[in-house]
Amino acid sequence: MGRVLIARFGRLLATLFAVTFLSFMLTSLLPGDPAVAVLGQDGIQNEELLQQVREDLGLNRPIPTRYLDWLGNALTLDLGESYINKGQDVWSDVIVARFPVTAQLAVMAVGLAVILAVPIGIIGAYREGRWQDSTTSAAVQVALSVPNFITGIFLIWLFSVQLGWLPASNWNRLGNGVVDNLKTSILPAAALASTQMAIFSRLVRADMIATLKEDYILSARAKGLSDSYILVRHALRPSSLSLMTIVGLNFGALLGGTVVIETLFAIPGLGFRLINAIYQRDILVIQGITVFVAVVYVVINTVVDLLYAVVDPRIRRS
């Protein structure tokens, strides 16, 4: 186990190094003078400001030293300031302020997806090949193929425009009360969940079909245990491992995937801010959010890998 941990940790460090370097390179890849790009329209006239930005970004030094400097700053949570919205610190005013919103959305989406996916997967496996299976499989195929922004739009159309039950925007922070927050978060979470649900339930179904053919299921039947007991206690348990892995991996991906949904529902999370930064060409904000999301994603994936090894003794030993 110790050796596995060390190897995994080494790989994590290497990946983090590469990921941060890629994010850092963003400012260097910009065509033309990065200082002009960073400052945008009003900077071009202001030679003094241009010089200052060049100094800040260290543009006159070689890339490796610049990268190490930048990395050192990033490690102390100094990701620079937005040049477009003056005085806005990328770490405290953008990431710390907005990440909780995105994380809440991702957690709700994954939770909702799992709650829906497990029973759907069980039904499909238990009634394999019959109408219950074919209907749920067809629904899952559709859910898998409809992009989440389309699901989101039609959820808005149904629940906001037609029924008027829920607002289509005006996010309420969790601090403003759980019910008020739920009213604004349930639609985006559901839109995000639909694709996830499809992925999860396909996995549960396939896994359980294999499990249900095992001998111990037969012996549980022979003992006279009820079908529902067998399904949940004997068959679902081994499948929960692979479900856990894919949930973990998808959670990381969702942190990036909320971008479109946050924009659609005007949710003040990281994704919406990223898109605004892209429209404004606010380079340091783009860079900061990119590197943050990438690091969180890499770390989550590593943790999921390790958890998997901890939970499943077969992997731990090998």
Partner: protein
């Protein structure tokens, strides 16, 4: 598990180093493989419908492009960017179109918020999805597929280094990487979007190709070819690549579904090909602002996008199942 209807053709033909009848690249041109018609008749009806839908979309997109690029709008399809209620200098009158019209004989799917023909915009929008999907598949198969096949066959240090690099790129959340790359460029042309999405497609193809190449390199016919002293190069091009290729093709279908969604999302955010070029994503984004007035204008592009993704998934899944059965029966 040998299937009697599938002759086990590999050893005899592939072993002969002087065999010239076998092309190196394509799965299509092999005389002993099923013809297009046979493949089509084997499909379940849902996959058949999906195939027909994909052919319609691709055909429509090519037709629309020809209409603009070659025939200068002479073919029977409306101008996708013409605002039909605009003042027309030639006739001295305003056009008779209305914004957000309902479907009619003139405008099959109605008109959008500035009175452009929705049907024409949809057909033209298919071109963007088509080009992006085809570029991604081409990049993926040619670059990623070749690299993956090569390292799966050669193994050793090259493999370790390349796959480590691939792992790092795949460690980045794909959409964030795409957005970050796209944000660098101010002018977003179709070429640029296709190239960026194409480049980002390479790693996953490399992984698929490597896995498949590893499996094939351990098969008897490759061992046999080695045993009779065939050059590794010849084995790679004659034995390994032709067997990895069908796997990559069916993967390309499923990957194309993903690429179409990604491009749709990018368009939806206004970060793909620029207006007035219509894409399904930007049509959805523009129409959603008027969703209270006219939901149909959101519905049509959403339907076309979703149906295309569904069809690609169906056909891709089917090809994957089919090639899995075929390689199991070898």
């Amino acid at each position: 598990m040998a299937n009697p209807s599938e002759p086990v053709e590999y050893p005899r033909e592939r072993l002969s180093p002087v065999s010239t009848s076998v092309g190196t690249g394509g799965a299509a041109g092999k005389p002993e493989r099923a013809t297009v018609r046979e493949v089509f008749s084997e499909m379940p009806w849902l996959v058949k419908i999906s195939t027909i839908w994909l052919i319609l979309v691709v055909g429509g997109a090519i037709y629309a492009k020809l209409d603009v690029a070659v025939f200068d709008g002479a073919l029977p399809l409306q101008d996708p960017n013409l605002q039909t209620n605009n003042f027309n200098g030639a006739t001295g009158q305003f056009g008779d179109g209305e914004p957000l019209e309902s479907p009619s004989a003139d405008h099959w799917l109605g008109t959008d918020a500035i009175a452009r023909d929705t049907f024409a915009r949809l057909v033209h929008g298919g071109w963007v999805s088509l080009i992006v999907a085809v570029t991604a598949a081409a990049f993926g198969i040619i670059v990623g597929g070749f690299l993956g096949t090569l390292v799966g066959f050669v193994r050793g240090r090259t493999e370790a280094v390349l796959m480590a690099g691939i792992d790092v790129i795949l460690a980045f959340p794909a959409l964030i990487l795409l957005l970050a790359l796209v944000s660098i460029f101010e002018v977003r042309s179709l070429t640029l979007i296709s190239l960026v999405i194409g480049a980002l497609s390479i790693p996953s193809y490399t992984r698929v190709a490597r896995a498949s190449s590893l499996a094939i390199s351990n098969r008897e016919f490759v061992t046999a070819a080695r045993a009779i002293g065939t050059k590794p190069q010849t084995i790679l091009f004659r034995e390994v690549i032709p067997n990895v290729f069908p796997v990559l093709l069916s993967y390309a279908m499923v990957a194309a579904a993903f690429v179409v969604v990604v491009e749709g999302g990018l368009s939806f955010l206004g970060l793909s090909v620029q207006l007035p070029q219509s894409t399904w994503g930007n049509m959805i984004n523009q129409a959603r602002r008027d969703i209270k007035l006219n939901v149909a204008q959101v519905f049509w592009p959403s339907l076309v996008l979703s149906l295309t993704v569904l069809s690609l998934n169906q056909v891709g899944d089917w090809f994957q199942r089919r090639s899995a059965v075929r390689s199991a029966s070898l």
